[in-house]
Amino acid sequence: MTDIKSNLQKILDAGHFSVTSEIGPPMSANADFVRHLAKDIVVMVDAANVTDCQAAVVRMSSVAASLLALQEGVEPILQMTCRDRNRIAIQSDLLGASALGIKNLLILSGDHQSVGNHPQSKNVFDVDSIQLLKAMNDHMEHGVFISGSKSKMPAQFFLGATTNPFADPEEIQLIRLEKKINAGAKFVQTQAIYNIDRFNEWMEKVRKRGLHERAYMLAGIVVNKSQKSIEITATVPGMDIPDILIERMRNAEDKQAEGLAIALELISEIRKVEGISGLHIMAIGWDEIVPVILDKAGFLPRPVI
């Protein structure tokens, strides 16, 4: 029997601090684009998110791009949103993904289509992200589809969810995080963290509920290449960037060096936070910086299990 545990799960189960990054599929059928991104991070990260039409923009499918990453030796974390597919399509795609050897699944709501490049499209949201987490957990544990009918060989994934420590209202976001873990999430990636004080307060509440002991909490970091990049990031809904960081980028002569310095400082603070099991790096439009950060932060070489 093939090993059903993903590399990411093995790393985390062994008590190592995990490191993941992202592969954003192109707005084209260019397989080399994905292969190239994968080659840059192979053996540098434990796994990489492969995004599902992020920002509601049509891109190469996350399942296809995940397979391309896998072929280059990068373990994919398949992202699946609830925006574009009904339960028939989602379950079908996930059976296919599992059959292709994709072992990590990150379930998200997905940005609303009105923020993307096809705002005229239909709004699906047949299931929400928590319902889908539970449905996939039931599928894996009991071999059932949402309808209750049985599958002889169910899909198997290391199930993940997302959380935003900075979204309103905080109390219900915590309730939602707990619901995601109750539904079956084994790892949780956070929204990008810039405000360490607020993140610490949030994690204290997470620890109080014991959630960090029931799922691996992986802290998100965005690395900004330019002043424009950090300013755009600041406009993303549910993002909290302290003015002082934006100010630092504004005043810096070498924006790239400053962006890198800020990221490294945040990483070093995040590593001190109790209950954080790993780091998730999002280098939007600056993919080549990921190995540099990992090297400078002392994450290399990655453990081999």
């Binding site: 339960r87 299931v127 319902q131 209202p169 539904a183």
Partner: protein, 222 residues
Amino acid sequence: MIVAEQKDFNDILRSVEAFQRVAVAGCGVCVTVCMSGGEKEAVGIANLLRLAAKESGRDAVYSVATPFRQCDMEFLDEHEAELEDADCILSMACGAGVQFMTEKFPDKVVVPGLNTMFIGVNRELGYWTEMCQGCGNCVLEKTGGICPVARCSKSHFNGPCGGSGDGKCEIDKEIECGWQLIYERMKRINQLDKLTELEDVRDWSTSRDGGPRTLRREDVQL
């Protein structure tokens, strides 16, 4: 009520200008209340059509008839004589009224004068908002009387997505986050604990997703 808005006048004009005798049919209920297709609006549209015909030198007759409800055959029957003469009926009712008018006069061309929008409420003069999608399986008792299907842009059942900010929805700063409202309401009525329960996958077959719906009640049938 059903909230509707008038179509662009030029679109209305294009759909009726080929006809010589046009009846503009208002509707006396929802669209009267939301001031888009009542008697007053029907008279207004008929006047504009007359002006447009005069300007382009066309010889056309525009009459007005306003059944109490276009969604009930008995009220359409009451106006049969007035509408019979027309070769085109411009229905200023919701989509249901337009279609019932079509059934009443199967040999005539019936065109819509409104865009039917939603089941909603009148918040202030000239401002209506959507409250219900007619999903056929009401959950308002679980969500503090605020609908997650109609008022959350993603129809989430287990709380807000991560995209809301300052209580507003990620799609538009003018739109309130439905789940922010549900949260505040549940807190106010001491039912926040209800939101910790996982709301399972929903059966959408009671909504339009199950196909066109019907309701038959034997208790009220003759």
